[in-house]
Amino acid sequence: MSEVKYSKEHEWIKLDGDVATIGITKHATEMLGDIVFAELPEKGSSVEKDGTAGVVESTKAASDVYTPVSGEIVDTNQAIVDDPSKINQDPEDSAWFFKLKIKDPSEMDTLMNKDDYDKFAKETSA
């Protein structure tokens, strides 16, 4: 299992072989507030790096979820659709959004490591 990487759109991505698990960061959930709706991409669909791949909504507003890398969706987490509050409770583990088979492993290199992301999150929310 490789190191967890982060995007500027506040997604995390964990690569296992050629399958990546993607979700939104704890920092993102704190900015959004209580999440009450989640929509996920369809299994088998192809998504492009930085393209939309889902939606989350808080009581206040809707926000797009982006995919930090390109690939084919191989699995989605129905549990967060049925109970979106799980995203606030455990965003960086059990409340993952989707898994995809990655197209281009070099796209991983464009993403931030944890330290850089934490710094980025702190700066952008200040």
Binding site: G33, V36, F37, V55, E57, T59, K60, A61, A62, P84
Partner: protein, 367 residues
């Protein structure tokens, strides 16, 4: 223009509020527990809302004032009892709504609570309509807080004795720290509760005492989910100058006595609409599943014809699902009518439903 702060700003900060600008004021949208918890705490216990940004307009006068206000508001003010309140609207001659408001008859005249974004314009309109005959004070020296929810009566009565005996939609003067406070049993959450008008210098102390007795500050975020579940309109969204009280399905707030005479601003249109019906009307809308249809979402009928628009929509924490209201063409306004809501390019099924989404019985004295 610099944004204003209410007298509770420090307390909001002490309670870790997240602020937003609302109608020119820095207002708390939520505190650390978040909108859903704040919403539920209000429904189950007691929540305090800083609504000091709203206008508190005192108009001083007697019999003449009553007559003049009846030319403006569709209310039977002559027969309104002392210290009793009514929900009403300030309309233009076409019955378009400038603002919705609560008007209370006091010993000295009337107290009108106005929306923050509308209050200065309302003041101007009313001053002109009343031809400067009466002393009018849009009081910036008083704060306004609401305490709402089932435990509120007990909590507030523990600080200001006697409030628990107030009937719904009535008020009176009470004393706190030798200050005169005007308290009405009212609110905008669908819960039993009170609104308290108090001098700016004392609102912080009063609010802290209410918190010590078990109430909590609640932000504008939860105020919005609470009022929407209760089926109540938000000015600037569900109501505006292009909508009349009849279209807004608020004809219950228009005095029958006054309609028969019809001598108030907008009465021609109101009477015409009551007799002939309206082409669009406000309804409750319940999306199927969990999809949230927000303001400006287009509404379609089963033949894919555009028939209206959502004016408020969110997730209702007590309903545990999405709730919305909006305006549809009259022929599609019947309860259980199937409609479709266009969200992010896809049409999602929903049905017209009666309001409110969440009902709790108010305290004694309901009409």
């Amino acid at each position: 223009m610099e944004t204003k702060k209410t007298s509770l700003y420090q307390l909001h900060q002490d309670c870790n509020a997240k602020f937003v600008e609302f109608a020119g004021y820095q207002m708390p949208i939520q505190y650390s527990e978040g909108i859903v918890e704040e919403h539920k705490f209000t429904r189950n216990h007691s929540g305090i809302f800083d609504v000091s940004h709203m206008g508190q307009l005192f108009i001083y006068g007697g019999e003449d004032l009553i007559k003049d206000l009846e030319k403006i508001f569709p209310l039977d003010l002559k027969n309104l009892k002392l210290n009793h309140s009514k929900y009403s609207f300030l309309m233009d001659k076409d019955a378009g709504i400038h603002d919705d408001l609560i008007i209370t008859k006091t010993k000295e005249g009337f107290l009108i609570i106005l929306n923050a974004a509308c209050k200065d314009n309302d003041f101007k309109i009313l001053k002109e309509l009343l031809e400067d005959k009466y002393k009018m004070v849009l009081d910036e020296n008083r704060s306004l807080i609401a305490i709402q929810g089932p435990k509120s009566s007990e909590i507030l009565n523990g600080v200001i004795n006697g409030v628990k005996d107030l009937n719904f939609m009535s008020g009176n003067w009470f004393t706190f720290e030798n200050q005169k406070v005007y308290i009405t049993r009212s609110g905008y959450t669908g819960e039993d509760g009170f609104e308290i008008s108090i001098a700016n210098d004392f609102v912080d102390q009063l609010t802290r005492e209410l918190i010590n007795k078990g109430s909590k500050l609640i932000g504008l975020g939860a105020r919005d989910t609470l009022r929407l579940e209760a089926g109540l309109c938000l000015y600037g969204h569900d109501l505006d100058k292009d909508k009349t009280p009849v279209e807004a399905n608020l004809k219950w707030a228009i005095s029958k006595e006054r309609i028969s005479k019809g001598d108030f601003i907008g009465s021609d249109i109101i009477i015409k609409q009551l007799n002939d019906g309206v082409s669009k009307i406000r309804v409750g809308i319940k999306p199927e599943g969990r999809i949230i249809a927000r303001e400006k979402t287009k509404i379609f009928n089963q033949s894919d014809v555009h028939i209206g628009e959502i004016t408020s929509g969110t997730f209702g924490p007590s309903v545990n699902g999405p709730v919305a209201m909006g305006y549809v063409e009259n022929e599609f306004s019947k309860k259980n009518t199937k409609v479709f809501l266009e969200v992010r390019g896809k049409k999602h099924p929903a049905s017209i439903c009666s309001l409110p989404f969440y009902r709790k019985s108010y305290v004694k004295g309901v009409n």
